[in-house]
Amino acid sequence: MNTTDLVQLLPLVVLGAIFGLDVVSFPQAMISRPIVAATVAGALIGEPDRGLVMGVALEFFALESMPFGASRYPEWGSASVVGGFLFAHAADGTPAAMSLAVLAALVTAGIGGSSMVVLRRWNAFWARQQQQRIARGSGSAVVALQLMGMSSDLIRGGLITLAALLVFVPIHTAAIATTTVSPTMSRAVVVSVASAVGLAAVWKVVRTTTGARWYLLAGLVIGFGLAGRLLA
């Protein structure tokens, strides 16, 4: 990868940094959700429709992760930029492009989630460093600590995106050249896996609410009917 390629990746790295920051630190407006982040990444290279398709596939997986307090979960902001770019970058009809892009996004999301755990430990370390000033009621120490945490998260998201792009762009290109699976089959495998995870996630969420399982069943009946009509 030469300097020109790296410069071309820069807007994506900035995007990954911003979306990575949104996941927890600021402003948690859910611009980091795959359906938004992957679409924007696709739009950045002139392929918003392909970015959206990738965003929808990843959104099924993201239904499973809920950012409850101290729980650990995948980081979808920067991962969606990576997935959206890889899929949008491949020409329409490229064999296995979707499954490769989704796999790259899932791996990035997992590593991104681990990087958030590391950052949270660093945050605790920095808070301990400032503890004496904070205990004395220093407003500037509180503000500085907050800005430090947010800046670090921004950098974390950018670095995860950059590293993932540097690793996965060449792999994606090389793997596409050696696969013969049809795009339809690739999409079908992704949809099967993603829908299974999404359906199980919704079931997990709604099963504790009285009557909600019947709403889900009714919805599935309507949904399959509607999907059948759309395919016809």
Partner: protein, 255 residues
């Protein structure tokens, strides 16, 4: 007949400053103080109005008090921030403020988690997935998702700050709001219905003209969903999916 004391007003610019800082309340989230520093950060514009101003003794004591451990849902923490600001500026004794800080996190966390993370997020995702499946443009899908999600997101933060300030130490009354008490169950049912509709419709939107594979997809989704549900607590679906996709790609390259 009792008369209610009028609620003192916090200047608009301070409320806006607190609201903006609330958006960054998790900026330095960590496993030791959790939201603690963020609470002090959000309260700081109001605490400058304590006797002695910024740097005064009251300000410094309050800042030290509020930067300690605090854990709550980040959006509903606005209720606590409003209530704590009111208590500090009303000159409530330190012991009572401490009791409020200890009592507030539990209900704010549990209501927020059920309403927002387990309810509103999947509901808005489902609406956006359905819009995609029905042929909405990329811009349309993004606007539908962000618009619907942030109505509640920003609404909760603004309402929380206002309600906390209005109720002060009696902030538990604010949590009696019907939206917070009944909302999670209604949102869960709406999510169930909409997700049920959206998943197949969005799935066919991704596959496109591939009716021949639909039967296989349906069987795989059913089997996969059962497997992920059975394995719940032992592993997560996205991890299993990573393995399955890696195996598929290996097969596609070697086979």
């Amino acid at each position: 007949m009792s008369t209610l004391a009028p609620v003192p007003q916090l200047p608009l610019r301070i409320r806006i400053a607190m609201l903006i800082r609330m958006l960054a309340i998790q900026g330095v989230w960590n496993y030791e103080t959790m939201l603690g520093n963020g609470i002090a950060f959000a309260l700081e514009p109001a605490l400058k109005r304590l006797p002695g101003g910024k740097g005064g003794e009251a300000y410094r004591k309050a800042m030290a008090r509020h930067s300690g451990y605090f854990n709550a849902h980040p959006y509903l923490a606005a209720v606590a921030v409003g209530a704590l600001a009111r208590a500090e500026l009303d000159g409530v004794p330190e012991a009572q403020i401490e009791r409020l800080r200890v009592a507030a996190p539990g209900p704010l966390g549990s209501v927020g988690d059920r309403l927002v993370w387990a309810g509103w997020v999947p509901l808005c995702s489902s609406i956006a997935l359905l819009a995609f499946g029905l042929g909405a443009s990329p811009l349309g899908v993004v606007f539908i998702f962000l618009g619907s999600y942030n109505v509640l997101h920003l609404g909760l933060r603004i309402w929380g700050l206002h309600a906390g300030w209005a109720h002060g130490l009696r902030m538990a009354q604010a949590l009696g709001n019907p939206l917070l008490r009944q909302g999670p169950a209604h949102v869960a049912r709406a999510t169930a219905l909409l997700a049920g509709i959206a998943l197949p419709v969005a799935a066919q939107g991704i596959i496109g003209p591939g009716r021949a594979v639909l039967g296989g997809v349906l069987a795989a989704v059913t089997a996969g969903a059962v497997l992920v549900t059975v394995l719940h607590g032992r592993t997560e679906g996205w991890r299993l999916a990573t393995l399955v996709l890696a195996a598929f790609i290996l097969y596609a390259m070697v086979g």
